[in-house]
Amino acid sequence: MTTTGRGARRRPRTPGAVRTRLPLVAPAAVGVAFIVLPLVALLLRADWADLATHLSAPVVGQSLRLSAVTTAVTMVVVWTLGTPLAWLLARSDHPLTAWGRALVTVPLVLPPVVGGVALLMTWGRRGVLGGWLEEAFGVTLPFTTAAVVMAEIFVAMPFYVISVEGSMRSLDRRFDEVAATLGAGPVRTFRTVVVPMVLPGIAAGSALAWARALGEFGATITFAGSFPGRTQTAPLGVYAALERDPDAAVALSLVMLAVSVLVLGLLRSRWLR
């Protein structure tokens, strides 16, 4: 091995580098394999020859379109509500804040089906608020596209809040103070200083939340049901097609997989390094 040329800098630091790192590399490789193998299996099992046909199955287009629309609306709501929430949590010194934070992250751990039931108990026809909504405005939420969005917000917002709060908390408090001495009130500081400065964190949190919303299944089917074009999002479409048209189901899964990898990969390489 010679050291001439730029390429030399890329060589492993020692011939034995891989060996001495084995106790790290081996488990990491097993971990990667465990996650990646099923994805590969999915690719292997896909009916590539007729992929185009499968992708033109009505369930595919319809459910993808619905997923695109609902997750977009979800993200708008999550940004609007979740960003101020993350900020207040990040800057609160109150001893109860830790518990408030835990409460907000509960949907992370709640089985989605239970989440769906809880949503029904709140917004359903006989729910705590739903009954009143129906009487006062004649609005019923379950079985509507709005219910899909609500289910997605319920499961996705905690991801966003937890992640954005982390970056906001590590923002130097002195920036807030400087903005205040310059005459910026809390809202203006939030808008013109905090948000722009934590943009990478917001991007990361958005990616996570969007991904979670895209994959959402249990709460959606429980709270919104499954009706093609109205409440049957892509994951529900996959489930519905799994037995009747497994190739379409796999094709649909592949599309979701590809889109997600693309979004996560782009975001992470752009923002997160």
């Binding site: 205040a180 001495t181 310059l182 013109t192």
Partner: protein, 358 residues
């Protein structure tokens, strides 16, 4: 009308600040050891700490008292810290325009005001740069421009030069001094650097442990420091003792040693507490006990050496009550073999000692 009239009582976990400050105009430098409460005082003025009691009145407006506590954004204040803290996502222009915009100025006006302020600190060419694209000194000047762009009634500077390397520091100090000359409000400048205090301020305030230990004009303070910290800042040795009775005029020091002096205040009686200063340059060092005219002579150990240019400051100790800094040339350091731990003879002529009441 007093432009700044503040009486600050702030209580933090384990720290009490109690400081009064009234100034009509000009620059007040606040000095003190680490943890003496300088930053706490500035934050209380800015509204970032709530007063336990006391008041802050600036240019006729009450910012805080028993019933009032204006938030920082409602106070006409500008603040610059050691770290410029420019908003990294904004250009210098937009950083400086941030204040005027926040106070309701339309965008175009705010920007032209910002451009003007940047011009006044010599950054007219860099308005379009991001903070990451300018040097530390430039960033600090931009921070100053930002703080002044809102025409604050009170300007608070917390060690604005301390994070700069020495060269940048003196250039930036000049810019700061230049810019402050045109500023009509009251400036409070926290610093550790005596030169800042002497070149930028017309009034000095020394804090220790949250209390004012000495205040006055630079000339008063340089002449008669009243605490070891203050003496250290102005570069003098300070000795504390009682006037001894009988014999030549001399001070009895705490550890039993004596300091012979030429003169004492006319009204001093034996037993009176007195302070005495000795210029480090007036301390002579010898490797052997000299047959010299110096009336004060001690055998001391070198505790520390610092060098500036071709001069070294040698800190000596080892005789109870006597702790001296001597200033010698670099060649002398080499010739005397001055390193930490060496024992040397230090002599001070009685005529070089200046005595005043404690």
């Amino acid at each position: 009308m007093t432009a700044l009239d503040a009486s600050l009582a702030v209580r933090l976990d384990g720290f009490d600040l109690d400081v009064a400050l009234r100034r009509e105009h000009g620059v007040t430098a606040v000095l003190g050891p680490n943890g003496s409460g300088k930053t706490t005082a500035l934050k209380a003025l800015a509204g970032l700490h709530t007063l336990e009691s006391g008041h802050v009145r600036v240019a006729g407006t009450t910012w805080a008292d028993a019933r009032t506590h204006l938030p920082p954004e409602a106070r006409s204040v500008g603040m610059v810290l050691a770290d410029p803290l420019l908003f990294p996502h904004l250009t210098l222009l937009d950083n400086v325009a941030f204040g005027p915009r926040s106070r309701g100025m339309p965008r175009a006006a705010a920007r032209s005001r910002a451009a003007e302020e940047l011009g006044r600190v010599g950054l007219a060419e860099l308005t379009g740069r991001r903070p990451s694209q300018v040097s530390q000194g430039q960033a600090q000047r931009a921070a100053l421009a930002r703080a002044l762009a809102t025409d604050p009634a009170l300007l608070l500077l917390d060690e604005p030069l301390s994070a700069l390397d020495p060269q940048t520091r003196s250039v930036t100090r000049a810019d700061l001094s230049h810019r402050l000359r045109d500023y009509a409000g009251v400036t409070v400048l926290v610093t550790h650097d005596p030169l800042d205090a002497l070149t930028l301020a017309d009034h000095l305030l020394f804090l220790e442990g949250g209390r004012v230990v000495q205040s006055g004009t630079p000339a008063e303070i340089v002449a008669r420091p009243r605490s070891p910290y203050v003496a250290g800042v102005v570069g003098l040795n300070l000795v504390h003792g009682r006037l001894a009775g009988g014999g030549p005029p001399r001070l009895a020091l705490a550890g039993g040693a004596e300091l012979v002096v030429a003169e004492v205040p006319a009204d001093a009686r034996p037993g009176d507490e007195l302070l005495a200063t000795v210029n480090p340059a007036a301390v002579t060092l010898f490797t052997e006990r000299p047959e010299a005219s110096a009336r004060n002579l001690w055998h001391l150990e070198v505790a520390a050496v610092t060098v500036t240019g071709q001069r070294a400051r040698v800190r000596l100790h080892g005789v109870p009550g006597v702790e001296l800094v001597a200033e010698v040339t670099l060649p002398a350091v080499a010739q005397l073999g001055v390193t930490v731990g060496t024992r040397l003879w230090a002599g001070v002529k009685a005529t070089e000692v200046e005595v005043y009441p404690a």
